[in-house]
Symmetry: C2
Subunit: 246 residues, 2 copies
DNA sequence: AATTAAGTTTCATGCAATGAAACATTTTAA
DNA sequence: TTAAAATGTTTCATTGCATGAAACTTAATT
């Protein structure tokens, strides 16, 4: 970045975006940054950063430690939790995910679509040493790879033969598209009105995702989302595949 | 609020603080707000809000729904998760809290001090219908009431007879100080260098917190925090009460 | 002691944040 | 149905305040 946001934007407030860019500088795995780090990442002048940080700290969005390092503040955690809570689904879905993890002993994630991104809203870890540790709660990906992304795109109505197939079979799989050795299988979760809420996924190392294992997982996932939709007051017919007859 | 931040502040950037105040408007249980709501809560001019929101939305901090309502954005969730992850302790402490909840069948919370606030970093719910549903992850309280607050204050070195007693017995209790019918018992958790990391608490309705029940909980909590401190590489002597002799 | 780097404060300059006003649109009342 | 009120949006002249270079103070390295 070069810190000069003037050219690209129409409308908006530069000072605010600069402040937000300071916050976003912490989003990439570094939990503490020095003034110089922030200056490098954002491209902002140090004076500017210091001035913006006075405001960020006063509102609790960042915290400056005694040793001078900057950290994210509790206000972000508070609002982040509020964001998650606004999806009331998480409370309902958690026990179901716990059960899935117990049954298949692989990590389960629940993701939602946000524009052209996927956001990992919830994750339940398996107890295995070798497991999908690549994604965490709060992570955000492009809507390109991975079983969940495919599901979210398919049931947002995107065109394409592969998406047709996902709609037909009501699930998607992926092998090494997001992380080289990882595999995943995902199903859509629908709400009361048949609207797409998100995608429920199981993921782990490819060698544990045999055809037979994945067939069982598919059953487990479909059973799980059907039960969830039912308890949300929705119609479960939507989970009938095109080859179902009953 | 009156939206006029000019008088109170020295240094800082007004436009940024106004933007942050918009975000904070969502912090009080309302997950969606209209323009007018935001104007009322923050005291800002609607034009100003609209302009600030362009920037907030462009950076993913808020999202405007098609019906015009504003909601928090995924960027906040991402950063909030990053905040939580910066306390690596949560990963270690979660299984221990799960075990506590299994044993005593009451909700367990882990809180940390942030200035003059308590922040609920993690919570494990009990399966009881009647339980402490008053606090959630991400909540922030004044450092006044509740067992955890007392513990955090006592082991931050505050003066007072009651704090002396908490330091002696290495735990605090509370009955109805935060919520009328609730009771709680809390212990401090210390890190490697004997530094206070936070407070571990069990809480529920008063009628289930008899003397004998709480004696068992105290043992359970102390055992839990001692084990945690040990696995963090710290010395557990710090959990010896003044009346211990061995 | 000399040099480099990191952090902080100041202040003249002019850019960009501001809010009143006018307008568009939707909802409520009469 | 019309009128009135509430909500949301855009514009633009005014000036408030965000800006960053420069000077300065530590702190770390050589």
């Amino acid at each position: 970045m070069d810190g000069d946001l003037r050219l690209e934007q129409k409308g908006g407030v530069i000072a605010l975006e600069r402040g937000l860019s300071i916050l976003s500088a912490f989003g990439n795995e570094r939990s503490a940054l020095r003034l110089t780090d922030i200056a490098e990442i954002t491209g902002l002048n140090k004076s500017t950063i210091l001035r913006l940080c006075v405001s960020l700290e006063r509102q609790g969005f960042i915290k400056r430690r005694e040793d001078g390092w900057f950290q994210l503040g509790a206000a972000l955690f508070h609002l982040g939790s509020a964001y998650q809570r606004s999806f009331q689904i998480v409370d309902v879905i958690d026990p179901v995910m716990q059960a899935l993890v117990n049954e298949f002993n692989e990590c389960s994630t629940f993701t939602v679509r946000d524009g052209n991104s996927v956001v990992c809203l919830h994750k339940v870890e398996s107890s295995q040493g070798i497991r999908d540790a690549g994604s965490s709660i709060g992570d955000r990906y492009d809507l390109n790879n991975g079983a969940s992304s495919q599901v979210l795109r398919a049931f947002s109505g995107e065109d394409g033969e592969n998406f047709d197939q996902i709609r037909d079979t009501i699930h998607a799989t992926s092998f090494g598209t997001l992380y080289p050795d990882a595999a995943a299988i995902a199903c859509p979760l629908f709400g009361m009105g048949g609207d797409l809420l998100g995608a429920l996924q199981l993921s782990g190392p490819q060698y544990r995702f045999s055809e037979t294992a994945m067939a069982a997982m598919k059953q487990g996932l479909l059973h799980a989302v059907a039960g969830l939709t039912r308890s949300l007051g929705g119609n479960t017919d939507i989970y009938r595949t095109n080859t179902d007859n009953n």
